[in-house]
Symmetry: C2
Subunit: 226 residues, 2 copies
DNA sequence: TACTTAATGTGAAAAAATTCACAAAAACAC
DNA sequence: GTGTTTTTGTGAATTTTTTCACATTAAGTA
């Protein structure tokens, strides 16, 4: 039986995002070029991995000269279709939605939240500059702005309904913050962000690490018994 | 050269979180047991994968009888050390920090934000019930509550400094929302959550999908030319 | 110009993750 | 109780990802 999944995000693409973040930082620090070694150090991967990833996306550098940071960044922007503007909508203007709507980095990266929606659009209107609409205008506005990607920040219980409405209105990609797995047609991409899981996975590793450290201490006490 | 990374989160563990979310939902829908097939459908993976993952974490079911949902959930809680309470701190009470501090699901899952910190602790004090302290009390409170895990929601520019302070105070795991890669000693786990990247990766896939669909249409127009 | 050095880029090898395939166990049927 | 069916659990096979290794290229040097 084949996999059912459709939300898989390739490791190499994930790392391209990572490299870009590193490059931006290195650039800010005044650097103009990098070697795979430098970037690898910065990103926490191996230099081979960096070169292999670049190879996959057909990014070329200069033999012995490394990579020009600006050129790299530009190539990456192309990968992300960054030249174009992307219109986004956000559904659910509660605590999280409000924070996201104020997040300026989205715009810095050409992702423009053109409208937000809430079942109760009057609640947050005063606290934000982005328009807040009722759900009845979802389809109209998504189509007007040719929106293809949406953020869901409504309670768990409403998420699937909102998702269905978005898909009906023509949305093809969703970042979902509600802790449910959304059901969508196969041509609609969903990226679930589950902050509880992120926190819990850290707790998991911390406890394991502590356990391992504890065991090491025991070993130190009793010596190597192998 | 070996990898430098230390923030890798194993796929199988990620999926255990996924399975738990699915199981909770299935339970809510009134189900009491599942087969690997059912859970796989729900989680969007293959049944083999489910069984293999369970095998890795030494979770056993009943031949021909599938798995009892409650037992599964309990075993998973053990994996996550869920029986214990986990004290967490949150640094940075801006837009995102405020939303996170109000997120009730953390507590539902035994993760208790015992205190929050901000360079300007008076700003948000009125808007939240969790105490907001100045950075001068970080070490004291972390040690008093035996906090091992922290959330960073401060601006990019301050994140490394805050991270260093947390590590000095004894924190062993960090969920970082600032879009920078933090440098930590090897025994400190960092999980970076980059919401821009999550959004951009969806945009990437949507555009590729659209491109592929476009190509398919061209193929349909011209027939199979192989 | 020729020689040395330092980096990339990519097939090949190794490792890791996933899928296959089937023996073993349990439930059910008669 | 015997036979059939269904599902688990896990080694083996396969696929994917990562790492290795080195030929290739460019820069520096004398
Ligand atoms: N607050 C956080 O920090 C946080 C963190 C991670 C995940 N989440 C998740 O994000 C979602 C929102 O969390 P929140 O804390 O902002 O909750 P919230 O209750 O503050 O906000 C939810 C908003 O959605 C609106 N809403 C409800 N039903 C709707 C519908 N059918 N259509 C349109 N809008 C609707 C509500 O009016 C409200 O404004 C939840 O699923 C939550 O689990 C929140
Ligand atoms: N707002 C969002 O939705 C969002 C989304 C993704 C990521 N982020 C990231 O999360 C971080 C916070 O975002 P925000 O929108 O909440 O920003 P914000 O400016 O609203 O909040 C930052 C808070 O950190 C505090 N702070 C600044 N320096 C500090 C220091 N040295 N020690 C302690 N506290 C300090 C400030 O007083 C402020 O309250 C940023 O790094 C941002 O990139 C935010």
């Amino acid at each position: 039986m084949k996999k059912f999944t459709k939300t898989l995000i390739k490791n190499s693409l994930r790392r391209i995002f990572l490299y870009r973040a590193c490059l931006n930082r290195l650039k800010m620090m005044g650097m103009e070029k990098v070697f795979s070694y430098t970037l690898a150090m910065e990103a926490g991967v191996s230099p081979d991995q960096v070169r292999k990833d670049f190879s996959e996306f057909n990014i070329k550098g200069n033999k012995r000269g490394g990579y020009n940071i600006d050129e790299l960044l530009e190539k990456m922007e192309n990968i992300f279709y960054k030249n174009r503007e992307h219109n986004i909508v956000l559904v659910g203007m509660g605590n999280l939605g409000l924070a996201l709507s104020k997040y300026s980095r989205f715009l810095q990266r050409n992702m423009n939240i053109v409208a937000t929606f809430d079942i109760d659009p009057f609640k947050q209107k005063a606290r934000t500059e982005i328009p807040v609409y009722g759900m009845d205008r979802l389809k109209e506005i998504i189509q007007r702005f040719k929106v293809k990607v949406a953020i869901i920040a409504v309670p768990e219980i409403s998420a699937q309904q909102v998702c269905d409405d978005l898909v009906k209105a023509g949305v093809k990609g969703i970042v979902n913050f509600a802790p449910v797995l959304l059901k969508t047609p196969p041509n609609v991409i969903v990226n679930n962000v589950n902050l509880c899981d992120e926190l819990e996975s850290v707790i998991y590793y911390v406890h394991h690490q502590l356990k391992i450290e504890g065991l090491k201490n025991i070993e130190l006490l009793y010596g190597d018994m192998k």
